[in-house]
Symmetry: C2
Subunit: 210 residues, 2 copies
DNA sequence: AAGAAACTATACATGGTGTGTAGTTTGCTC
DNA sequence: GAGCAAACTACACACCATGTATAGTTTCTT
């Protein structure tokens, strides 16, 4: 496995960005199946051999692409409303908007990573990390709901977090948007209804927390 | 592509069943990635070339395996309670039990088919058919809920069906059971709570249908 | 016993990833 | 601007997967 060091000059950085953008473009159009190294090479105008001067393997290209996309789409900005929300229920609404608005843009990459998983150790590692991050986010949200006494009966912090995590999975979002034609706004609204009714205790039925 | 005709003698049927069982076993243990034709051949004790005397391609093997499994697991019996239920809400409970109890047993095959999709036209066709079948089931259930006046406000027959369909997806079930360690019973109960609260209108808030 | 069906062994075409090597272009530095 | 190193290309190769062709062997049927 070739060792890739920090790029030095501008030419190298441009080539690298061109490769990542080409891969991203391919994932959005070709649907994830056609992402061979040859296709990325051809689309980016770099020789196939040249790809391996920037990315040690196909899996490593995915890892870097994932970070690249999160940077370009400004993940931090999409998560902000959830953190800044003044109540747990508002945070829950922000979660639904993030799931529908942001996660849906990751469909191509995530499907490709999932498909490469198992055969590719790098892809597997990326998958585990992303899942852990998302679950951690949901755990924080569920914890806040519990703190404010909003979590309804059968749910615990752990089970509510698991549920939220599974509902923000790219597979589910892909199913509803791509397959069933839901728009991002429809999905956000319906996810909001779903998690509010499922997780939030009715007004008369809450433990005495302010 | 080799043409496969109806098997004649018993030997052939036994070999065929041995291949399918070996493939199934591999999917349950190896997790779907290690399902190469070589692996199936080795596990079943048939030569690699021999596989192609029973299945025209890897994708066709999946198609036949899917039917084989649905037969062995008795799909019809698992769907029965849903159809026989005396009310739409009872049918919804039966749906949750079917999703958690039956769909979870398909995890291995479905993941493998999904992974083969795109490169394999047969796998793609199987996928579309299975999705259509499941969606049809959910559409019938949502229709019955509407008929009995139980569907709550933002939901229509179509959107409720889409939601149910996405919630019974093998990916979601796999996430919650394999990744988060939910048991089949826990999943069934929590799915029941989720869809009841989300879809069913509260008692005082229903149109006048008996 | 004979013939057909089922099966094996082996070889090959094709297409994918990843590496090795030699040669060429580009950019940086003095 | 000359020289040098980094970046890049072209080509070849090893390896592994699917699917096919062909010839020969076992097993079932009649």
């Amino acid at each position: 496995m070739t060792r890739i060091v920090e790029p030095r000059n501008r030419r190298s950085r441009d080539t690298r960005a061109a490769i990542l953008d080409a891969a991203w473009r391919l994932l959005q159009t070709e649907g994830g199946a056609g992402l061979s190294m040859s296709a990325v090479a051809q689309t980016s105008g770099v020789s196939r051999r040249g790809l391996y001067l920037h990315f040690a393997s196909r899996g490593q290209l995915f890892i870097d692409l994932f970070a690249h996309i999160n940077e370009r789409l400004d993940l931090h900005a999409s998560l902000d409303p959830m953190i800044e929300a003044s109540s747990a229920v508002d945070a829950l609404d922000a979660w639904a908007r993030h799931a529908a608005g942001y996660q849906s843009r990751l469909i191509g990459v995530v499907r490709a990573v999932d498909r490469a998983r198992g055969a590719d150790l790098d892809a597997e590692a990326l998958w585990q990390q992303a899942m852990a991050d998302w679950h951690h986010l949901c755990l924080a949200l569920a914890g806040r709901l519990a703190d404010e006494g909003m979590l309804s009966d059968p749910w615990t912090i752990a089970t509510a977090a698991d549920l939220l995590w599974s509902l923000m999975s790219v597979e589910l979002i892909d199913d509803l948007m791509t397959e069933q034609g839901w728009s991002s706004e429809e999905l956000a609204e319906r996810l909001r209804v779903l998690v509010r009714r499922t997780l939030i205790a009715p007004a008369g039925d809450r433990p005495d927390v302010p």
